[in-house]
Each structure stands twice: as structure tokens, then as C-alpha cells.
């Protein structure tokens, strides 16, 4: 059967969002022949949805900013669980990555002095986010896309072929990473348009597939976010790190139902928007946790003064890290002080002139006007938490972005874990994509070059197995292997909806032991049923088939989230346990790792109760003393265990 088309490349990048494109640019500039594979059209990746900006301590607006302050903010935001070396590299390199975009044609909003303007955001001590109105992600993706085109133009001039050194395979999905022994040898993929299978042989594969939000019902994420890269890494034998940490963005749209979950940018609050409950009260003042008490305003007057005079006033609590704000909104709604459609009110209309709102928040203005009939210059928005981002991800080496345990596998962006600890600050995602996308492309290219004369071989059996796995939904009528009965095939759309409801209700923003156990049972049931997910029609651009294949990934990733969330008996960042409501310092240095039960990447014989995932704990490396010295001792005692403090 193995007559699938094969091509040889040096580096294959899976995903064409910010991290994937930045990786591809670096790999190609270092001489690696680079292929990019993405599920959507080139330039449509989810990065396009990022609104607020790119965090980078350029100090254009406040001269006191520097990488150390950015590092501190990032660690605080992540409640000190961050892989600190990543947070350090990120803070140090972000400004260079932003400036470089300008040399590729990006046009950021400007300061009066003509520099890149920077705006305030939750958890950032100084105005730090380079931005273009509220469409920064679009600017980022377009700039990277256009840089890729310019490299292709160079290649065309030299070789007569635009795609000789850098090719984008758009609307293609990777279903397996192939291996030669322990090492990566390539990827197995299908073209969405034709359903045709193909193999890209390469010693190095960069995973940059983004997140997992489509496993939840209320999410700001697009259909692409089915945890493909997380699952590909698991199946290839790499561990996932701290998957319990899922960020619920505090402000998603709540009405009308069809747009529930769509993001309302944090810039609304960064620029002066305030949150109110149904009593008209700015409730965030009641929700400042102890660890942040000294850093936030205690009165509305002080908070309001801060926008004009940040050196002598403290910031309003609307700008607390996202996990804090999301929990607060959840509590207000639960206490019966919510808005008519089950959210709270986010208001800019009384805070800024209409014309300023339209200039600074054009796409929010447009979005509410078009989709909800709400004029945000005249009335408040209704908002509530929405699943937005996963902090957990593929466990990687900080400097090289190499996935642990699988030579040749690299990961960058949302799919990689560690950088953001238990909670990501707004604006730190776009900078993460650029900093670690570049590092992943760089080290993948170097790794691949070292294997130029001993390229790992692609195994025909693996290719056949991958093809059979991908074709299975077309023959789902009969009994699945291992199942005795001949029940009718399952509708993949129904399975997906049940999965989303399960994760939303049972492993959502506030978690309880019994519910998570229930979720694991439900996931086991869905796993069995998903093996009978059947599709109609043929392989040409068939969304039912695509979804049936994506279900494998969503189920794997959801199990990781539920198992890790059940294990961590504390509340920290994007993981809140009603039965363990406080942060526990003894968990500060504990990572939870998820691995596939079957180390060969097989899923067939999985025990329905035990599941597909093995969970283990590891103690993290102590934070380097010079980095610890950036904090006051009084602050560190709130986070670190006694023995960590006095080592």
C-alpha cells in the first residue's frame, strides 16, 4: 500500500502561525531546505486573532523598563512555576525580535518620538506591548508571511523556483511523526483538498501547532486548535508538561450564543476600561490576592490616576493577571451579580471619548457592532471567561526548544510548555512565538545539518500503519477491532460536542475532584465510541473526516488535562481547585509530566479505565541565584518553600 508520495527536506515545520513561520525563516536563513505544513491557508493561522500586542522591554514609553523587570513580571504572572531559563531568554530577546519585524516591513503604532508605541497590559509593570491598534496578531502574521515570500523571491532569482528552499504546504494535516529508532525521520500527512497522503522525510521536525481550546465548549480558539502538536509529540514518545494549566481569558463575548467565547481584548482594560457588576460596582477591588496587595490600587481614584501618573500611583485591579480576573468574574456571576446574559459589564464608553475608542479599539468596535448590535462607545459590553490558551505543552530544553527524549523533535509557541508557568501574561504569547520560534528553527537547522550524511530512514511499516489509521473512519460501519458488536458508526460532530461539554463542565475554570473523575470516565467512554467515528462521502475536502481524525488528538490532550488537574491538589494560575483553594508552596517546584502508556505510539490496546496517559512528577531545577536576587525576599517567601529559600 505504501505508494505515497515522498519528498526530502532538511527541516519540517508543522504549523504556520507566529512560531512556525519564525522557525521556518530562521531554518531557511541558516541554509536548511525547509517545508512548512499548515491546516489552513497560508496567513490564516490563529496568531491572526491576537489583539493586544507583543510584550518586549524596549523602554520606549517608560524608560525604567528592562528585561529584568519583564522577567519578574513573567515569573509573578506564572506564580513561579515557569521554566525560568525560558522566561529569562524570552525577556532578554523579545526587543530584538520586535525590532527585526520592522526591518521586514511591519508598521507598529508610534510614539510622539517616532518609536514603537507600547501599551499597558495586565501584570506588566510598565507599558510594554508593541501593538497596531487591536490587530497586532494580523500585523505579526502578515509580516512573517511577507518575509517568507521575500525569501522565496530570493530563491527564485537564484534557482528559478520560488519553492526550492522554502515551501508552504497549505491545507495539509500531519497525523504522525515518523521515527527511525529513537530519532525523528519525517512526518506523515494528508492534503485536505484531495485527501491524498504524503510523507516528508526530514531529520528535524518543529512542532508549532498552537493550542487545545477546541476541546472546550466556550473558547476563543478556532477549529484548528485541536491539540495536534501535543498529540503528535505524545505519540512520538515525548512528554507533555503541566497540562493542568489552561488559561480562561476573563473577557470573552457572552451574547449572542453563536459568538459566545469570542475574545474581547485585554487592551480594553489596558486603555482604561473597567469591570462592573450588576450593582454598578467595580468589583475587582475586592479580589486582589495577598501576593499582589502592594502592587495594586486600593481606591478607584488611585487606579484612575495611574493611567496619567504611573510613577506615583498603583495600577487598577482590572489589570491583575488573567487568572485572577477570570476567577473574580466567575464569583460575581455565581453570587447573582452578573449581567443579563451571565457575564459582567466591561465599560469603556464612560471612560474615553467615542472617537478615541474607535481609533484605539477599532476591531472591538466593529466586532460588537456587527455581531451583537452593541455600540461600545455608548454602552457597556457583557463579558465572561473563555478558554483561551494552554500553558502546558511539550516539555522542551529551554535554550534549544528541543523536545525532551526525542532527538530531532523541536517545539515552539503555545504547543511548548514551561515558559509561562501556571499562567501567561497578555502580550507574552506573541513574544514567545518569536523568541522560541527562532530558537527552534535555528537548532532544528543545526541538528539537521549534522545528520546530512546519515539521514534517519523512513520506515515503510510506519507509513502503512499511519495510512490505515487515517482511512479508518471510512470503514467504521462494521465492528471496530476489539469491539464485538456491530453498532452503527458514531457521528464525529456529536462526539466532539460531547467532549467539549465534558471538558467545559467538569475540567473548566473551577475544578473539583469528583467532577474530574467523572470527566475521566466520560473520556474513556468517548474514546471507545470515537473508534467507531464514521464519515460519509470521499476523501476530497471532507470536514467530517478531518474532524474524525482530529478527535484522536483532542481525546489524548483532554485526558492529559484532566489527569494532571486531578493530581495537583492546590490552586495556582490557570488551575483552580474548589477543594484545594489556596496555592501550596510545596507544589511550587513540582512539574507533572504526561506520557503515552504505550511507548511505541500505539493506541489500540489501551485499557478504557486506565486510559492512554501515564502521569509522573518531577522536581524542577532550582531558580538560578542571580535571577532570584531580582526579587525582594519578602516577595519570595510567598512563593518558595522554606528549603528553596535558604539553599
Amino acid at each position: 500500500m505504501s505508494v505515497v508520495d515522498r519528498q526530502e527536506w532538511d527541516v519540517v515545520v508543522v504549523g504556520a502561525g507566529g512560531a512556525g513561520l519564525r522557525a521556518a525563516i530562521d531554518a531557511r536563513e541558516r541554509g536548511a531546505r525547509t517545508a512548512v505544513i499548515c491546516k489552513s491557508l497560508f496567513g490564516k493561522a490563529h496568531t491572526v486573532m491576537a489583539e493586544g500586542g507583543i510584550a518586549a522591554a524596549m523602554a520606549n514609553v517608560n524608560e525604567h523598563d528592562n528585561w529584568q523587570v519583564h522577567f519578574r513580571d513573567t515569573m509573578r504572572g506564572g506564580k513561579f512555576l515557569n521554566q525560568w531559563r525560558m522566561a529569562e531568554l524570552h525577556a532578554q530577546e523579545a526587543p530584538d525580535r520586535v525590532w527585526e519585524l520592522e526591518t521586514w516591513g511591519a508598521l507598529f503604532d508610534r510614539t510622539k518620538a517616532g518609536k514603537i508605541s507600547q501599551r499597558n497590559f495586565g501584570g506588566h509593570e510598565y507599558p510594554r506591548l508593541a501593538h497596531v491598534g487591536d490587530r497586532t496578531g494580523l500585523e505579526l502574521i502578515r509580516t512573517l508571511q511577507q518575509k517568507i515570500v521575500s525569501l522565496q523571491q530570493e530563491d527564485f532569482r537564484e534557482t528559478g523556483d520560488y519553492e526550492s528552499r522554502l515551501k508552504v504546504f497549505q491545507e495539509c494535516t500531519v497525523t504522525r511523526v515518523l521515527k527511525d529508532g529513537s530519532r525523528v525521520s519525517g512526518v506523515f500527512a494528508y492534503e485536505r483538498e484531495t485527501g491524498r497522503f504524503f510523507v516528508l522525510e526530514a531529520p528535524a521536525v518543529v512542532i508549532a501547532t498552537g493550542g487545545i481550546g477546541k476541546s472546550f465548549k466556550v473558547t476563543s480558539n478556532s477549529w484548528e486548535y485541536t491539540g495536534d502538536g501535543h498529540a503528535l509529540a505524545l505519540l512520538a514518545g515525548a512528554p507533555l508538561l503541566n497540562m493542568e494549566f489552561v488559561q480562561f481569558h476573563p473577557t470573552g463575548m457572552v451574547w449572542p450564543p453563536s459568538v459566545k467565547g469570542i475574545l474581547v481584548t485585554e487592551s480594553v482594560r489596558g486603555d482604561g476600561g473597567v469591570l462592573r457588576n450588576s450593582d454598578g460596582k467595580r468589583f475587582m477591588f475586592d479580589y486582589v490576592p495577598d501576593v499582589f496587595k502592594e502592587k495594586y490600587a486600593e481606591s478607584e481614584e488611585e487606579g484612575d490616576r495611574w493611567y496619567e501618573d504611573p510613577d506615583n500611583n498603583r495600577r487598577p485591579p482590572e489589570l491583575l493577571p488573567r487568572d485572577e480576573v477570570a476567577r473574580a468574574i466567575n464569583s460575581e456571576v455565581k453570587a447573582g451579580r452578573g449581567s443579563p446574559h451571565g457575564g459582567v459589564f466591561l465599560d469603556v464608553s464612560t471612560r474615553m471619548p467615542a472617537e478615541v475608542i474607535r481609533r484605539r479599539l477599532p476591531s472591538m468596535y466593529h466586532q460588537f457592532k456587527e455581531l451583537a448590535d452593541v455600540d461600545i462607545t455608548a454602552e457597556a459590553m457583557e463579558v465572561g471567561p473563555t478558554c483561551h490558551y494552554v500553558m502546558g505543552g511539550i516539555a522542551v530544553e529551554s535554550d534549544t526548544a528541543a523536545a525532551r527524549g526525542v532527538p530531532g523533535l523541536f517545539a515552539a509557541g503555545e504547543v511548548a510548555g514551561g515558559m509561562h508557568g501556571s499562567n501567561r501574561l497578555g502580550g507574552n504569547s506573541l513574544s514567545d512565538l518569536l523568541v522560541f520560534g527562532r530558537r527552534a528553527g535555528w537548532h532544528a537547522a543545526e541538528y539537521s545539518a549534522a545528520l546530512a550524511f546519515e539521514r534517519p530512514a523512513v520506515d515503510d511499516v510506519q507509513v502503512d500503519t499511519a495510512a490505515a489509521e487515517a482511512l479508518r473512519p471510512f470503514s467504521a460501519e462494521g465492528p471496530a477491532p476489539g469491539a464485538e458488536d456491530g453498532r452503527p458508526p458514531e457521528n464525529p460532530y456529536t462526539l466532539h460536542q460531547e467532549l467539549q461539554q465534558t471538558m467545559n463542565d467538569l475540567v473548566g475554570i473551577i475544578r473539583r475532584e469528583g467532577e474530574m473523575e467523572q470527566a475521566l470516565e466520560k473520556l474513556a467512554d468517548l474514546r471507545v465510541r470515537a473508534r467507531r467515528a464514521g464519515v460519509e462521502g470521499h476523501r476530497q475536502f471532507n470536514p467530517g473526516w478531518h474532524l474524525a481524525l482530529d478527535l484522536r488528538n483532542m481525546l489524548l490532550v483532554s485526558e492529559c488535562v484532566a489527569r494532571a488537574a486531578l493530581e495537583r491538589t492546590e490552586s495556582r494560575g490557570g488551575h483552580t481547585r474548589e477543594d484545594h483553594p489556596t496555592m501550596d508552596r510545596t507544589w511550587r517546584n513540582i512539574n507533572l509530566l504526561c506520557r503515552l502508556v504505550d511507548p511505541t505510539g500505539g493506541l489500540a490496546a489501551t485499557d478504557p479505565v486506565r486510559g492512554q496517559i501515564d502521569l509522573s512528577r518531577e522536581t524542577t531545577e532550582p531558580i538560578r541565584p542571580d535571577l532570584l536576587a531580582l526579587f525582594e525576599k519578602e516577595e519570595l517567601v510567598k512563593y518558595l518553600a522554606e528549603e528553596e529559600l535558604y539553599e
Partner: protein, 256 residues
Amino acid sequence: MSSYEARFKVWRGDVKGGGLEDFKVEVNEGEVVLDIIHRLQSTQAPDLAVRWNCKAGKCGSCSAEINGRPRLMCMTRMSVFTPEETITVTPLRAFPVVRDLVTDVGFNYTKAREVPAFVPPEGVGPGEYRMMQEDVDRSQEFRKCIECFLCQDTCHVVRDHEENKAAFAGPRFLMRVAELDMHPLDAAAESGLDRKKTAQDEHGLGYCNITKCCTEVCPEGIKITDNALIPLKERAVDRKYDPLVWLGSKIRRRSS
């Protein structure tokens, strides 16, 4: 408004041909056309092919023609139609059909490659770029483009004239030329590239007779014709007929 049952006609088929298929489908308050297409997928036609991503008018994937008008399905609210109305959804007409509502938009990617990239100014390093907001405003407007290709679809130069595609970049990519031409630091001229001339000679600016159809369908509200194409035409004409204007702008650029 509560739920009702709407009548839809959706084009189904592939490169070999196809036709409109009738559906009756539930519609709820606040929904957009894309919600209805998704409901058809999950309940009646699981293999109905459609492109989409963000569902918030930001990615430009779900372009189609709704009752003959090029639109984003995610930004077309059902409330603009009466419950009695039959809503017809067809693929973009200017591009070859792949399947159902999905078309081959490769034309646009080909044209994108033909526009020479931004040329960074020599001697200005990363972090040293200084530009005033008022000088980047114009190009920023064009960079709002989400590449939904509705303007490319509606432009009559190619909509019914396949033969013009080779010579004409279309509004989106002529606007890209304008964007680069108006970029305060683009050093194309210094490198010997005259963007106005190439707009005319290589990207088919002359085909555009400013009927503003592109502007009308732009979901981002970009004034493609008034702010990009007409100024580009004026500059191209200046260049063609007035060597003094050309020289003047050359000197001005150097001294700034």
C-alpha cells in the same frame, strides 16, 4: 426573535460540476450564516466543504457569495434576512471550485509573490527605525487587509475575464504595491525599483477603471480605490509624464 426554520440553497459539487441543493434548517437569535452552514454540516451534510477559522471577521477564510454578493459568512448576520427569504450560498465566482463552498484561491498567492518585498533602508539598523504616526497611517490602513479576497472576487476585470488574470494583480495586490510605496522607510527607489512604474507595467494598474466595487465589498472598510488605487494611478501618471515631479520626489526622499 426566537428560533425559526430557514430555507437555504447551497451550491454543492466539484470541478466536474454541481448545483444548488435545498435545505431547511433551524436558525436561532444572533446567528450568522456560518453558524447555519455549520449546523448543516453537523446534522444534514457532514461532508459539506467550507473554509473558516476565526469566526470573528479577522482571518478572512470564510468568503463566499450570499445571495450573489461576496461576503464573509461569519460576519453576515441572519437578522439581515427575513425568515421567509431563501438564502443562497455559492462559492466565490472568480476562482475555480475545489468542492462545495471551497475554491482554489492560488491566484492570489501567485500574485502576492510577484510584488517585490519591502526594501529595508541601508544604514538603519533594527531598533533605529523612526517614523511618525501620521506618516504610517496610510500604509497601516492597507495593512488592515485580512486577505479574504472578496475584492479580488468582485473586481470585474477578472470576475468574468479569466484571460485578464495573467496581467492583473487585482485590488488586493495593487493595494500592497501602494502600501509599500507609501511606507516612509521603503528603500525600493534607492535600490532602483520604481514601484509606481511596476504597478503600471507589471501588475496591471491600468486595467482598473475605478468602479469601486472592491471598496464596497471590503469587510474591513478599507478605501481601496480612493486611498490606494487612485493615488497610485496619479503617482504612476506623474512618473510617466512629468520628469520634474519624479526628480522632485527623489530629492525630497533623500533629504528626509
